[in-house]
Symmetry: C2
Amino acid sequence: MNQLDLIKNKASSPQAESGKQPAHEQVYQTLRSQILFGELVPGQPVTIQGLTDSLGVGMTPVREAIRRLISDGALVFQGNRRVSVPLLTSDDIEQMIFARISIESELSRLATANLQADDIDHLEHIDKQLDHMIADGDVGGYLRLNQAFHESLYSHANAAILSDLAERLWLRFGPSLRVVCGRFGTQSLPDRHKDIISALRNGDAEKAAKATAQDIEQGMELISESLTSG
Amino acid sequence: MNQLDLIKNKASSPQAESGKQPAHEQVYQTLRSQILFGELVPGQPVTIQGLTDSLGVGMTPVREAIRRLISDGALVFQGNRRVSVPLLTSDDIEQMIFARISIESELSRLATANLQADDIDHLEHIDKQLDHMIADGDVGGYLRLNQAFHESLYSHANAAILSDLAERLWLRFGPSLRVVCGRFGTQSLPDRHKDIISALRNGDAEKAAKATAQDIEQGMELISESLTSG
DNA sequence: CAGTCCAAAATTTGATCATATTGTGATCAC
DNA sequence: GTGATCACAATATGATCAAATTTTGGACTG
């Protein structure tokens, strides 16, 4: 894809460890995945020393990663010096529904014009795998592929700032979404992706935006219901 | 010599125990203000050691503060280990116009119902001072009061997540807005605040949202024009 | 005598710093 | 221009200090 990336990777080939990223970056990415895919439970405390032990790195990289995640809204600072995975209120969900629909609909709208046929094929491929995950009841697989679908779509919008805002919102509800899936199973999960794909193939940006909004609303309402019932 | 001056000037805070905050938090707040109010120039490099020297604290707190600001989008990591104040493209501005209008209009809409008469008086008071700053050509004062106006308004929306998203966007364009003001002077600066206040007094949420959107669009277009002309 | 409550020690966790190591960009010789 | 070398900045660790939580022990009350 990008020539510059290949060149940059080549320069660091001596250490063939697939990436000579600094430790604080690796810690950040690790925690980010764990939060995004619900491997951490809402309310769970996160300690610096616990992470230095389990990840085998020093305190400074862990601290930096935690600060970044707090800034992302993926972790919350508890007033005393404790840090934990956020517990969402239904009011939080309301705000996120609004923000996600505003931003991600626009991302779909922008992406529509830039998508080539094979890009859409790729999205369809992801969605097919997604169906299998839902059928198999594989919650982790669902979360990863659902995220991959949206990220892949939004990446074609060429809108770094809007994508960044969207990513932050995903980090906020990741843990809660996992809980919902664990409670209700994968059957009730939304998948308006077929509608999105069909709109993309027709080059209909408005329809793609609308379908994205519906996909978002269904998923978020599920979390909201889970909160009120629990 | 003046290493603590920047930190100590938080004395305006009503709480006397502002010295109780950890150093990394103070460094973050200091840098945040400097970025938000344009005391740092777009493109300017930011070094860890430079800040440890000038602020008189160790490297760890500085590192944490910088990571947070990178996550905020207020600073950018340059691929190599360099960090600098972001340079915006006109495409960035486009995205920010969209995001700000979406989110901040909603914040105005939500705030309308919650505002008491004396809250609106307070907003009007801020706006009156703002007029003086514009007349005097005080760019720094304009930036601070403009930010205070919007923050004060949005705080009544009781929407932490949306406010957080808005804050991040403000951090991104702060340095560039300062440059614009320096170039064009304060005369051309937008101020639809009178329209906002009048709508708030009438309890007209839609009109408040609309006036907010106009205020945002005018301000951002100014930055955009400055980019293309420069 | 048992249970509760409070205070103070002990333990755990966080915050900061000093220092060693590593990587980057720049300079200078060739 | 190319390549070795040098200076500087960033990264990472462990030590040290401070704060908060938990545990513990004893006294007091019922």
